[in-house]
């Protein structure tokens, strides 16, 4: 299992559209992908769980994955966060 911490930098936080992007991206990998915020874990392949995190702007989220392509999966999700989910 590998993990990496990222900061939510887009203005609106992880609302429906970013959540949808996260789920679409992580569903493309075989590994299990999780997001963790303030001790709450969410399955990154389930949009309801991801939205439940209510990760607003400036909050910290830990992305972790375990499986064959765990590295690629974490990389891809972290990139999404860094690109601000193509939002402001």
């Amino acid at each position: 299992m590998i993990q990496q911490e990222v900061r939510v930098t887009n203005h609106l936080g992880i609302h429906a559209r970013p959540a949808s992007l996260i789920v679409q991206t992580s569903s493309g990998f075989q590994s299990d992908v999780w997001l963790e915020k303030d001790g709450t874990e969410a399955n990154a392949k389930s949009i309801m769980s991801v939205m439940m995190l209510a990760a607003g702007c400036d909050s910290m989220v830990v992305v972790h994955a375990s499986g064959k392509d765990e590295e690629k999966a974490v990389d891809a999700i972290v990139k999404l966060f860094e690109s601000k989910f193509n939002e402001a």
């Binding site: 609106l12 936080g13 429906a16 559209r17 959540a19 949808s20 209510a54 607003g56």
Partner: protein
């Protein structure tokens, strides 16, 4: 049975764009009962109507001939006829013969207008058909206009299944054997209505797409493993509809394409049929998926959004507000 041309995306479509124009004889046969139509000359001259609407040539008779639609069926009603009768004999002849000189396909005199004998003779010489109808001009205009509109409406056929679910027309497309018919069967068993299985003929009326079943196939469908069943006979009249508006296209796809799916329902994809855009959804099929239940939910959700409600947008607003509030609370700490 039309033959299909495969298009990209797995949807087979066929356009009837090279539809021949409607011959006058055919037009007469179609409408003579309904419009109480009588030809003023036999045989009916060989001419054809196009998709242009019926035209009342008042302005042309009065001398304004710019923009005169010469391909249109010309309709002379009480008003135009009263105008002609008010003219001197020579002006009247000149006005009427203008129509003939433009080689219009036909002139219809609506009740109470009647062509004078010289008009018939002159039209016969120019091979322009004259008809009389015992309907008033407004009634003829409506019936003939609707008929021409139907005949010349844009059409296509799609390999798919159309079911009316809670009043919402859902067009199922997807590869053969993916389960379109089985889904339709399930919906019919739940009390929804089948419009057409396997082949859906689509007509564009205004900005609406109306789907119908094939005349020969009717409401028969093939259920793999059982064979051909007649839904109308088995499940009764309430389980079928002759036609329905198509509100949404649902494409059934194999589960392994699932990574491309929209997961929140925020982005509405569209598909364009005959120039009309309608919502398009990709629904993955896998064991344990109940497509008919999904269809019912989709239909109800479409009804809801027609009333201006969007669940995901409202949910998103709430979520963003919640995040803002907790950020503000953190800031105070």
């Amino acid at each position: 049975m039309p033959s299909f041309r495969k298009k990209a995306g797995g949807t087979a479509q066929r356009r009837y764009s090279d539809e021949p124009a409607l011959s006058l004889k055919r037009f007469y046969d179609d409408l003579r009962r309904e419009c109480l139509l009588t030809p003023c000359m036999q045989p009916i001259p060989d001419a054809a109507l196009t998709g242009r609407p019926v035209h009342r040539p008042g302005l042309a008779l009065a001398g304004f001939v710019k923009y005169f639609p010469r391909e249109s069926l010309q309709l002379i009603g009480e008003i135009e006829f009263a105008y002609l009768c008010n003219l001197s004999t020579s002006r009247r002849r000149q006005a009427f013969e203008y129509l003939l000189s433009e080689r219009v396909p036909a002139v219809v005199f609506a009740h109470p207008a009647e062509p004078e004998p010289w008009m018939v003779a002159s039209a016969a010489k120019k091979k322009v058909a004259l008809f009389t109808t015992r309907l008033p001009a407004e009634a003829f205009y409506e019936i003939a206009g609707t008929h021409l509109h139907d005949v010349f409406a844009e059409r296509t056929s799609v390999h798919g299944t159309l079911v009316l679910v809670h009043g919402v027309g859902i067009l199922y497309v997807g590869k053969s054997g993916i389960g379109k018919s089985e889904c339709a069967l399930d919906l019919v068993c739940k009390g929804h209505a089948l419009v057409s299985d396997d082949v859906v003929h689509i007509v564009r009326t205004g900005d609406c797409l109306v789907g119908e079943c094939n005349e020969i196939l009717g409401h028969h469908m093939e259920i793999r493993g059982i064979g051909i069943v007649n839904v109308k006979e088995l499940c009764g009249m309430r389980s079928v509809r002759p036609r329905a508006r198509i509100d949404v296209q649902m494409e059934l796809v194999e589960w392994n394409r699932a990574e491309y799916l929209d997961r929140s329902g925020l982005d509405e994809k569209k598909v364009t049929i005959l120039g009309v855009p309608i919502p398009h959804l990709c629904i993955p099929v896998s064991p344990g998926k109940n497509i008919s239940a999904i269809s019912e939910i989709l239909a109800l959700r479409m009804e809801l959004s027609r009333n201006g409600k969007s669940t995901i947008k409202e949910f998103d607003k709430k979520l963003i507000l919640h995040m803002k509030n907790s950020a503000a609370a953190r800031g105070r700490e």
